[in-house]
Symmetry: C2
Subunit: 436 residues, 2 copies
């Protein structure tokens, strides 16, 4: 493998951009357990999702088709930043003195700075096609809220974002970013929803959580006929939209005669990890020898320490109940900088594949994660998101194992986002104030 | 022209990256007036620059060679982010309903987020080659300081940055970015230099200025044998390093059978503008019909309202004296958000070409500039730097002229940097608090 000299960046032409997403449900060795209605606790049918999502996304959520075509309008918007580069981390390899080859798929080049627009754009598009006027969503640190703001602006849909209050106050520039793209941003919990008022009645100073914000967004979507809800991770259709990441990476590696021995992504809800890994998991089902590693924070160890069981996706229990690894829907993770990984559950598809042994999971404390991010910034130059830094920490560990064993493995990780709006975390790390 | 369908992004392969910079001094219809020594006020020779710069950069500053080869080590680092994409602004064109074709060269994809690494990397390299241990520099809003931090980290040189105090306090994350890349950052004026102490004696609460920060950095470089100084704009060699931007853009336009009718860049010291425009100015000297427009803030109107005369580059008069458009080296521009454009002078090369009629200059107030930036963010998606927004405002105006005249002109501008660390300006604009 890899007899050619690999360029620093492996580029796909726009004409080589994948025109379909990959739906792993078509190839699962065993199907996932069905979601349950939050009302009846019985298996949910399409009708249970109709108040929340446009029909096309509901169909995708349940589809068994292997490939689903990306609409032309979505492809057109994707091409503002896709195909994204696949980069060879030559300078990091040299620093580690490893025989491993490290590749990263650079999703930080999107206007919102992460992989999130890959699903925000089609979600906005399908809502628009079905006449939806307004979308409600939640956001933690703001990555998802800003990506959906961008998508909604492009397709002329109003967006209301319920942003976890502590982030709303600490990250005014994430809020500004959403407003630049036309969204209305609320600090959650608000007194505008029943879920919010219930929380505030117990604790008027509640700093908010992702679970509470989801409850508020779902409640507001359910209340209005012209309004739907949108989720930035966890669900099957979201994971599927992200597979363009892995499909491109696979085509790019083929261009330089490479195939990964190890594929790595960080996991919050699971969508960036699904995106990079599902097209390779397909090969693993067919017997390919490949390791796929999900990386999570030690302070929110869903896959490594959670239970595999049915649980609610949100705090108030309004969203569908799914079979997944979970720390319990009342779990409140500690306020680590990787806000996007602070979720009590995980994608049912990712959970199933970890549970059934097709994928592994590891967890790291945040000081080690920031140390890896510093190494990356000082070799490859890029200042990456705290979430992404989890994947980098794992890639470095795998590369160092290769140094010990002398193996020249090919390691691929998803550089899911930049950290230019997360420099406070770096500042605390440099000042020695970061704790695990 | 332009019979092919242009893709959204015109990509060059790494093998197509230019391997030389273009030195416009070889082609100037008339040579520029020589710099003067700040000590003797006589024309400066190489010996006057030796305390400040490594010999190779002094040679480049005075060179009459048309092309100067980019060292392999510099090319290697460039390839972390170069060649950068040339993008067709389809969505902006549609919004403006213009027959014009708008292209932008996207320099925001560098790790530091701007064009500045194009010169920071070779400057660090040449210093390293000549045994320099430490570099001192100044930075206003932080773009240059962060780019040079990156360059120095890659080549193992210590960096001390004198950052204008008001920015140091207002932009802690720019400081953090420099520290991530290993630089030591001082709030200027400091009490560590004579220039700084002199300023503080008059005004202990002085918020600093670029002119003062330059004086401090130059003074500290002059004091120590193992230390040199580095400037991020204005000088001939800096402008030359930036020509990789225009050389790539030209090759990219050729790929889609296009040639610009108008080339646009914002001007602070002049280097990003020189970078995009000098390779096209060469054609203009040969008789090509092309307009080249420098865009500056109305509150710091160097090219449109300054005098063309010899003036100091810094406040204390330690740096060489050059022939340029200037507002006077004691001029203190108002605190607009485009901190990178708040400089009293401009590149002697750019000044000469504007003075001699080869280039035009226009000035805009910052509210109009932010309005243009909002239009860009809401169509093309990218949140751009306030400096860059000046170029966008001009590109929009030129495109709207085409709408009136019905002409399908090809407009090229330099998207010199993103605005992800400048969201405070957008926030003020959205809140209606921005003033001119």
């Amino acid at each position: 493998m890899g007899s050619k000299v690999t360029p620093h960046k492996v580029i796909l032409d726009e004409s080589e951009m994948p025109t379909s997403w990959y739906n792993i449900q078509a190839d699962l060795p065993e199907p996932v357990d069905p979601p349950l209605s939050p009302m009846t606790k019985e298996p949910a049918g399409p009708e249970d999702f109709i108040p929340l999502f446009p029909m096309e996304l509901i169909k995708q959520e349940m589809s068994q088709e292997r490939y689903i075509e990306i609409p032309d309008e979505v492809q057109h918007v994707y091409k503002l930043f896709r195909p994204t580069p696949l980069q060879r981390a030559y300078r990091l390899e040299k620093e580690l003195d490893t025989p491993a080859k490290i590749f990263y798929k650079n999703e930080s080049v999107s206007p919102a700075g992460s992989h999130k627009p890959n699903t925000a754009i089609p979600q906005a598009y399908y809502n628009k096609m079905e006449g939806v006027k307004r979308i409600c969503t939640e956001t933690g640190a703001g990555q998802w809220g800003s990506a959906l703001s961008l998508g909604c602006k492009f397709f002329g849909i109003e967006l209301e974002v319920y942003m976890v209050k502590v982030s709303f106050e600490q990250k005014p520039y994430r809020r500004a970013m959403m407003e630049v793209w036309g969204a209305k941003v609320h600090a959650s919990p608000t007194d505008e929803t029943e879920s919010g008022r219930a929380v505030l009645a117990e604790d008027p100073n509640c700093p908010g959580s992702l679970g509470i914000a989801i409850s508020e967004a779902v409640e507001m979507a359910l209340k209005r006929d012209d309004t739907k809800y949108s989720l930035g991770s966890v669900l099957n259709h979201v994971c599927m939209h992200q597979t363009i990441v892995g499909l491109e990476a696979k085509a790019q590696l083929e261009k330089v005669d490479e195939y990964p021995d190890v594929v790595i992504g960080c996991v919050g809800g699971g969508s960036n990890f699904a995106g990079i890994s599902f097209p390779f998991a397909k090969d693993k089902f067919d017997g390919k020898d490949i390791r796929i590693i999900a990386v999570e924070p030690l302070s929110c160890p869903t896959l490594t320490q959670g239970k595999y069981e049915y649980d609610c996706g949100d705090e108030a229990g309004l969203a569908p109940i799914v079979m997944m690894y979970t720390l319990g829907h009342k779990f409140v993770p500690s306020p680590i900088h990787a806000g996007g990984l602070r979720y009590h559950g995980a994608s049912p598809l990712v959970s199933k594949l970890v549970h059934d042994g097709y994928m592994e999971a590891v967890a790291y404390p945040q000081t080690q994660v920031f140390e890896a991010a510093m190494t990356f910034a000082r070799t490859e130059g890029l200042i990456i998101a705290p979430e992404t830094s989890h994947a980098v920490k794992c890639a470095i560990d795998e590369a160092l194992k290769c140094k010990e064993s002398g193996e020249s493995k090919t390691i691929l990780f998803n550089l899911s986002g930049h950290g230019l709006l997360d420099l406070r975390g770096y500042d605390e790390y440099l000042a020695g104030n970061l704790v695990d």
